[in-house]
Every structure is written in structure tokens, then in C-alpha cells.
């Protein structure tokens, strides 16, 4: 019996490690394939390449005419920073208003806002495209950035839930000290809602970084292409694809997501736990 209790934690660890490796396998396979000679990618099942090659990284980065892959990274980062900033500022302001300020028809507007995120994206796609086309915004970054400054229903909802959990007594004492609505928002609510804000920021970053369809629809000039569009330039499912370059550039494109996620992980889990959101 004492043996068993000593073995137990090890066994559990072993199990968790095993399952973890199983889930990581596709990622490991991608990383391994990016270093394999093209002829081995789909013929050799083992992870370890028989010959290490960096040619895929070189071909992927410099292989496209008139443009380097680095440009796509710059464009993607630019979109992400604007999207994160815009979403955090506008969504937190809207959330603060819904959670704290009494205004006419507040419940109605809140329900209406929730209604917008029940609407599937495909329904609004073509009307939205038509509007942006009429405004002359197609093939610029504007359709992908400006809407971010008009709050996103999902993040507003998430932050409203969080702000409702902050004691109102804090508001009252701040008001006694002479805080107006704006100061209350900046000084009291924002600092305390940090976990929810970080969650919003990370979600927005990931969504923008991985977004393929929106960027595909609105961007046509290769100089404005982002990482997801750049990756697809190597892929032609009806003909031949340069798989090596796809894997190499995919490996590079995963790195920023990794860094952002791990850097913000502490706040991220806290935000999810306290908003009662099941991720």
C-alpha cells in the first residue's frame, strides 16, 4: 500500500505528460517537417529528419517575387496592435457605461448589443463589403481597423460581467472624493478590471493574428498582405504546393502567439475564472 501511494503521483504525471505529447504531436510534426528535405516530408513518418535543411526558411522568406515574408509580419503586427488598442478602449468604455451608468432604455440597448453577436458573420459579410467598397476602403487596412474602435459585443459582455463584480462602495467613496464618471472609469474601474482587459487583449490579438477570411476579402495588393494570406500564397490545393515553405513560415507565425499567450497567461486565466467564462 505505501508503495502505491508513492507511485501514484508519478503515474499521474506520466499520464499527463503522455497526453500532452499526444496533443503537441501535430505541432512537433510541423516543426520537424520544416527542417526536412521536401521529398521526405510525406514519405518519412519519423520526426527526426535524415538531413537538416534550412532551405525552406530561406525559400519561404525570400521566395516570393518583389516581397519578403517579413513584410507580412509587419502588416500583421500593425493590424494586431490597432485591433487590440481599439477593442480594449472602446469595449471597456461601453462595458463601464452598461455596468455603472443609469441611462434611458439601458436594458434595451444591452439586449440589442447582445443581439449583434448572435448574428452570424456570413450574413453581414456582403452588405459590409458593399459599404466599404462604396467608401473606397477596399484594399486598405481601414475595414480591418476602424470597426475595432466601435466595441465588440462579446468583449463588452465579458467586461460588463467583470465590472458588475467590483463593489459599488468603491464608486461611492470615489464620488465623495470628487471623482466624475471619467475619473471613476480611469482611476477605479480600469485598474480593477485588468484581468478582463488582458483577456480581451489576448483574445483580440489571437483572433486578428489568425484571421484569414476577413483579411483575404479586403486585402488584394500583396504589399498589404498579412501572415495568414502570405502562408496561403504557397498553397494550391488544385496543383502543387510548396509544403516545406508553408511549414517553415507557419513555425515562425506561431511564435508571436506563443509569446503573447504565455506573457499574459496569468491575467488570462484570472480573467476567465472571475468572469465565469468557460474558455
Amino acid at each position: 500500500m505505501p508503495h502505491l501511494s508513492r507511485i501514484k503521483p508519478y503515474a499521474l504525471h506520466l499520464l499527463i505528460t503522455g497526453v500532452g505529447i499526444l496533443m503537441l504531436y501535430p505541432v512537433l510534426w510541423m516543426i520537424a517537417s520544416s527542417f526536412k528535405p521536401t521529398t521526405e516530408i510525406f514519405t518519412q513518418s519519423g520526426l527526426w529528419p535524415s538531413r537538416f535543411t534550412l532551405e525552406h526558411y530561406h525559400n519561404g522568406w525570400f521566395g516570393l517575387r518583389n516581397i519578403e515574408f517579413g513584410r507580412f509580419f509587419v502588416n500583421s503586427f500593425f493590424l494586431c496592435v490597432i485591433a487590440v488598442g481599439g477593442t480594449v478602449i472602446s469595449s471597456s468604455m461601453a462595458a463601464f457605461a452598461f455596468a455603472r451608468i443609469e441611462f434611458p432604455l439601458r436594458r434595451f440597448w444591452f439586449a440589442l448589443m447582445l443581439g449583434t453577436f448572435m448574428l452570424p458573420g456570413h450574413v453581414t459579410l456582403i452588405p459590409q463589403y458593399t459599404i466599404f467598397h462604396e467608401m473606397g476602403w477596399v484594399d486598405t487596412f481601414l475595414p480591418l481597423t476602424v470597426p475595432k474602435f466601435f466595441a465588440d459585443a462579446f468583449y463588452v459582455f465579458l467586461m460588463v460581467q467583470f465590472i458588475r463584480g467590483i463593489p459599488r462602495e468603491l464608486d461611492e467613496s470615489a464620488a465623495i472624493d470628487g471623482c466624475g464618471w471619467f475619473k471613476l472609469y480611469i482611476r477605479i474601474i480600469l485598474p480593477l478590471a485588468l484581468p478582463a482587459i488582458m483577456t480581451t487583449a489576448i483574445f483580440t490579438f489571437m483572433a486578428t493574428w489568425d484571421d484569414f477570411f476577413g483579411q483575404l476579402i479586403y486585402l488584394s495588393d500583396i504589399k498589404k498582405f498579412t501572415v495568414p494570406l502570405g502562408l496561403r500564397l504557397f498553397l494550391d490545393s488544385t496543383g502543387n504546393s510548396n509544403w516545406g515553405a508553408v511549414f517553415a513560415m507557419s513555425v515562425l507565425s506561431v511564435i508571436p502567439s506563443f509569446i503573447v499567450y504565455f506573457a499574459g497567461q496569468k491575467y488570462f486565466t484570472e480573467g476567465i475564472a472571475t468572469t465565469g467564462l468557460k474558455g
Binding site: 504589399k223 498589404k224 500564397l233 494550391d236
Partner: protein, 448 residues
Amino acid sequence: MNTRKIVSLTMLSSFLVLAACGGNGNDNSNSGASASPSAGASSSASASQPAKKVELRMAWWGSEERHEKTLKAIELFEQNNPGITITGEYSGFDGYFDKLNTQIAAGNAPDLIQMGGNIKEYAGKNSLLDLKPYIGQTINLDDFTPSLVREATVDDKVYGVTLGVSSSALLYNASMFNKAGVAVPTEKWTYDDFKTIVQQIADKLGDGYYGSYDLSSDSATLASYLGSVGKELYRDGAIHFDKQDMVNWFTLWSDLRKSGAVVPAETQVANPPTAVDKSLIVQGKVAIQSASASQISGFQALTQDQLGLITFPNGTAGSGMVPPISGQFITAYSGTKHSEEVAKFMDFLVNDPEAGAILGSTRGVPPSAKIRDSLAASTTATDKVLYDYISLVSEVAPDVDYQQFPVDTEFTKLLQLTSEKISFDVASIDSAVDEFMSEVNKLLAKAQ
């Protein structure tokens, strides 16, 4: 106190980052605008002073080799035609048609659009321009097989120009023919010649060597066989062959299998001809298999033996070859404002020798016979075999409007199943064909 400091710091820094990147973004768009094709066009246009300046957009999908070659061809066209600039809007295949649909719905589609087999769907939606007024004027299709034009024709209107073709073929191992001392067949050969030749090869080379794969399960070979005896696999919602034709077909292969001339059932299943790395042609053990002609380069790359392409044998009614089919088309958006220039560029893509040399076979074998001939002189030996073969098929194939079986995948599966039932001796030819005929009719009913 402490948290407040941190928060104000993060706020501050995020605003700074925002501001910095906002500035960056402006710089980007400014420099992007000054380097954009419109600016380049105006400078080159003012140099040669043409009457008007035309900007076209062209969309295509592909991988980076196709992007590279197409951009080069566009540059050449722009040099030859000052005043016209073409902006490429290229991507991978994923999402290509989703984007196109959105653009069409908003009236913002590119002037030139690469299309695949779904050309008729878009023609039906009135999204494509009728090119008929330009054919014979701006667009010269004299070097095209008529069937290629028909493939892009709906209700007497022509909606596209074929960019690349391919064709079904018999792929043979010429080195094995040499070893067996058997002459390589010509396009005039018959099914009797075929039987003699494969038997000779199998006999001369001995155990483990065969004259041909068992092609009774191959729908392309069957379609050509039916054509060669004056029947048709499919036309206008019905089959145009009867039970006796299928019995003859399976008997032909059954006899060859029994005499050891074609690959036995077990070997065929273990080494399917469709898998390049398993094909016995590549290993020099089987002399003939069916393939899509353009596959020859993939097969040839894996073997030292010399490979070649030949048309399917002739029957009592002559050749049953299906004419080369279009892989891809270039089409024009019905909302284009510059149809004359669009037509000019289409003609350039398929008829200009320099463009042909740049594009090579990135979208399949060039459809124009003249371009093929000029390319064949300078290209690799394998590509030359391919180009010559496509020219040969264009000549010998009867000029019929071939119609593909509507539920093609299921038909192929059914044929394979029937063939294996017979080759593994599970059913007699007669009962297997009976079942085949009733299943084919069920498939047709389903497709209606």
C-alpha cells in the same frame, strides 16, 4: 498606489505604442501609394504618350511558381502595350472563390478572372463577359481544338479562353518494349494489336513481368473503348452502351489475365498504378498503364527507364479518344469597363510565343498547337513527349462534344468494384455485368 502606478504605466505605454504604430501605418500607406502601380503607370504613360491609360486587375490562384511566371508575363505585356497596367491579385486556392463571390456581389470583381471547371456556374450567374465578339478579331483561337472552345460555351456564348489542357493517356515503359524486342505502337494500333503486344512482352520477359495493368477498372480507358466501337459512355442523361458491350469489355481483360499478359488481381491491388511510388511501370515490371498525360513527369522522375505516351487503341469505329480537356480558363468579369484591352491580354496569354515561353506548363499544357511546337524545341525531353502527345490527341480524337458521367466518382468506384469481383473470381462476368448495369441506372436516376 502600486497597482495604480502599474496601470497608468501600461495605459501610457499602450497609447505610446498605438501612436507610434499609427504613425508607422501612415508611413506605410504613403509609401505604398507612391510605389503603387498607378504612379508607375502615369510615369511610363507620359513617356510614350498613348491616347488613354487603362488599369486592369487580374485574379488567379496558385502556388509561388505560378505567381512568379504570371507576373513576368504581365510585365512583358505592359512593356509591349504602354498605357495598360495590370495589377495581379493572387492568392492560394483557399478562399479564392469566396472572395470572388463577395466581389461579384459588390460589383467590384477583377477584370480578368482565372476559372476552373466551375466556369459554367459563373456564366449562368451572368458574372462573366461574352467573348464571342472578340473571337476571330482580338482573340485568335485558330490553333485551338474546337472542343476546347465548346467547353467554355454556354447558349452559344463563349465565356472563357483555355489556359492549359490535359488528356487521358496510356503511359508505357519504352525500355521494356526494347528489352522484349517489341516495336512501340503508333496511334493507329487496334485492340487486336494491343492483345498481341502485351502477350509478347509478358512471354518474352518471363515470370513477374506483364504487358499491361488490368485496365478493366479504368473509366478513361473504358470511355475510349466504348467510343472506339461506336458507343458512348454517357450523353444527355443516359448511357449509350448495352450489356453486351460491357461483357465484351470484361471478357477482353479476363482473357488477358488468364494468359498471364496483364497484372493479376492481387498484385494490382497491392501496387495500384495511381500511386506513383508503387507503380510497377516505374519498377520496370509492367509495360503499360493508364494515366493523365501530365503525370508523365512525376513518373519519369522516379525511374531511369524511358517512358512514353500513346493514345488508346482503335476499335471497329476508329479512335475513341476523348479530346484534350481544359484545366483552367481565363475569363472576363461582365462588369469590366475595358473589354477590348481584356481581350487583348487574353490573346497574349495563349498566343504570344514569348508569353508561352515564360508561362510554360504552369497551368497545364499550352492549348495552342503553335505554342506547343515552339516550346517543344527548347524544353526537357519529358515535356516534349507530353506536348507532342497532346498535339497527337488533338489530331486523332474525333470532334465530339464529350460529356462526363455526372456522378463520376461513384461511377469510378462501381467500375472498380465490378472489375475486382470478376478478377478475384467472386462473380461470373455475366452476373457481375447484370449488377453493374442496374447500378449504373440507379446512379443516373440519382443524378437527375
